[in-house]
Amino acid sequence: MSYYDIDSILTDAEKIPCTFQLDVPELGYLDNSPGQTLKAGARVALPLWLAELLAITSTGSSDDQNKSYVAFDLPHALRNDVVQALKAEPLAVPLRDQSAHFYSLATHMMDLSEEPELSATLRKTFVRRAAEIALHARKLGGGTGKGDEGGSNLGVGGAGEEFLRGLDEWERRLFRKAHDGTRAGKEWMEKIKKN
């Protein structure tokens, strides 16, 4: 994670469901009741950077030392039915609809709380989808094929287009790398014949 990284800044702005652990005066505007006290137990969606800060900062109140301001759950994008769907068929879930920074968000969440099962599922998902991304990139980049398997039969149309639309930012970058590699290979091939 780096200070000037736009993607990591945008990931930090993703909303996380939080539950306040204690009453906070004057904070009611977060829960649509301006001027009121925000009651303990109130559920509010906070941006990740704020949720993280409040979750790891101890309130320091004398009665229970270790109590933090909020407890948080996994964000909507990582809810159980999404993870189950990914387990069943990684290619069928448009990750971008969950979050444009799906993997980045997940990585950040797993830093905050241990989710070994989520980590394993997401790694499988990532690798499986990467193979599919490579396939599409190769077709679109012109490939090193014999020319008879050009864009039309797998192409951008139909299911292919739908899959590519659903890529998150990490996957889009991967797609670009695969595509650029294939294209540069083809350009080299063509150039060597010319001079």
Partner: protein, 253 residues
């Protein structure tokens, strides 16, 4: 001024590197030795063969001052053999790279030793793996670049019609491209810390580099917290998973 390229050699840079490979030529004209920055060129005396870097050999060829002897591995029989090995004998891995010079003469220990010492740490493009003395049946690191350059500029020096060699090369590229793809589709290859791509070629690597490294780095980031937990457990558990007796026994073997 700073170079705007991503890390890792791009295809044009790989092609540049491959032009340093030594190839064997048969001069058609005398040419005295020239002192170059990289050392003296050998004096050329037809019909004696000489070894020159590919860029210089191509320059001579274009001026009809020399013919280039294709390396033995580029002969159709050698290519067909490699294709069979890559597609039938060992469909999952690239075929072995040529044996390194230090291992090349097991029956002549004296010679082998000398090669090993004087060429210490030599690697492509400075290993003579594209000369007329190179072994048949093995693809050197810069196989595709050298083969394409020779086909484009010295097609008439091929032992058979250039079209035949070209079509065998196409088949080989296809067989190997499929391996490169499958090497990135199994999670097992990324849960561990080492992935071997023994026998891969420079151009194949350049084409897939960004993607493959992107996948490996992505898996590392998604697994970072799991990995940190594993390290903590190993440190406190003395490197052993004490909760699982069976795996303990396995580790004892």
């Amino acid at each position: 001024m700073a170079l705007p390229l991503p890390p890792g050699l791009t295809q044009p840079e790989v092609a540049f590197l491959a032009e340093m490979e030594l190839v064997t030529i048969v001069p058609r004209q005398r040419l005295e030795s020239i002192s170059l920055l990289g050392g003296q060129t050998p004096p050329l005396r037809p019909p004696h063969r000489a070894e020159l870097p590919l860029w210089l050999a191509l320059l001579l060829k274009k001026q009809r001052r020399a013919n280039i002897v294709p390396p033995p591995w580029l002969h159709p029989a050698s290519l067909s053999e490699i294709i069979t090995r890559e597609s039938k004998d060992n469909p999952d891995a690239f075929s072995s790279p040529p044996p390194p010079p230090s291992r090349a003469h097991p029956t002549e220990p004296g010679r082998a030793r000398r090669l090993a010492e004087s060429d210490a740490n030599l690697s492509p493009p400075f290993q003579p793996s594209c000369t007329a003395d190179a072994p048949a049946g093995y693809l050197p690191y810069h196989w595709l670049e050298v083969a394409e350059a020779l086909l484009a500029h010295a097609g008439d020096d091929m032992p058979v019609a250039a079209g035949e060699v070209r079509s065998l090369l196409r088949d080989l590229v296809e067989v190997r491209a499929a391996k490169m793809r499958s090497s990135t589709s199994t999670l097992e290859s990324f849960g561990g810390g080492l992935t071997s791509l023994r026998g891969v070629g420079a151009m194949e690597l350049a084409e897939s580099r960004g993607f493959v490294l992107g996948v490996v780095d992505g898996v590392r980031k998604l697994g970072a917290s799991a990995e940190a937990t594993r390290r903590e457990e190993e440190e406190f558990g003395g490197g052993r998973d004490v909760s699982d007796d069976e795996s303990d026994e396995d580790m004892g073997i």
